[in-house]
Symmetry: C2
Subunit: 192 residues, 2 copies
Amino acid sequence: MTKTPHAKDARAASETALLDAAERLLVDVGHAGITTRRLAEAAGVNHGLVHYYFGSNENLLVRALERFTDRLIARQRELYASDEPFVEKWRTAMRFLVAEDVTYEKVWLELQALAWNDEGLRERLSGVNAEWRAVLAEAFAEPHRKLGLQIPLDALVSLVITFNLGVIVERLGGIETGHAELLDWIDGWLSS
Amino acid sequence: MTKTPHAKDARAASETALLDAAERLLVDVGHAGITTRRLAEAAGVNHGLVHYYFGSNENLLVRALERFTDRLIARQRELYASDEPFVEKWRTAMRFLVAEDVTYEKVWLELQALAWNDEGLRERLSGVNAEWRAVLAEAFAEPHRKLGLQIPLDALVSLVITFNLGVIVERLGGIETGHAELLDWIDGWLSS
DNA sequence: CGGCGTCTTAGTCATTCGTCTAAGTCATCT
DNA sequence: AGATGACTTAGACGAATGACTAAGACGCCG
């Protein structure tokens, strides 16, 4: 029943290597360019393992999505769960948003683009979105009340999520015009 | 030198059919699923024509992007160039944004996703973005002044563009939570 | 220490891909 | 009417793909 520790480690390592490679390839060539063999080559494992471990190319990407979204939610929770004042959390989040490195965002949006054409993935994504939304709604509840904003909390959360998503998409397209101005203004407004 | 009118028409018709098929396939299967043969089949033409007319599969998608973005900009200009009061233009734009049919948006974002992995396409897209931005900046200049908004015009335009883009991406992922609330609030705020 | 079950490898298989070409078609012009 | 030249078609080509498998390697357990 119990697997040998070494073999278990080796298998886990190979699986991780493949999932890591999937993320790397999503960044480098996009989901359209991911093939079994390229995946295996990037992970440094035999290409037959993709089928043996994951059943299929597509399944591997599903697993990659699961792993990635778990981390995504964890990161969000961690960010907004700290004891810092809200404005500091916001600033941290925005620093991530316009960081030079778009690796994380590229993986995330390539997976979304993949889901646009895959009903199963789409359902999974909407679950993640609901979680993300819940985290933000909780984080924004206090400042929303304190600042006496007229916009309903629901609408505010949607505004934040969508404009963040839009910024990411624009950045992936090589567009950054106006982003700094927008974030600066929000920051100034929050500070006052 | 001059081509025969009939032949010219036939060729133009076939090219158009292929470009139309490309858009249809972008909606139905995404850019990753577009192949020479499928394209030709969907357009009802011989698959060799893709090479004969466009040189390559990729070139055809570039042409599809050009045609689509031309229409996109034209639509934007038309919308914001009318004599209606600003609030009516806004409402029309928002009605498009949350219309049931996401065909237009799907084509647009599939092309963007394609561009994420293609330097040439990315440059073309940033040009389109700049045009769009200019149209919006002009349209928002008056209401921005009249309403005495504190947010700089640049930042406002970015906010509008990015939140629109985010709404589109969420909708393509099957997510609509909060959109109606957000748009309703904006509408109410504009009306007051 | 030898059998045993799991992991790993190399390789096969049919299919599909993009590209390209040779042969055929057809409207036009002399 | 026949030649011309652009357009269209069917098909061939090698390369690459995802799926799958048989055989070997490896480490554990009795």
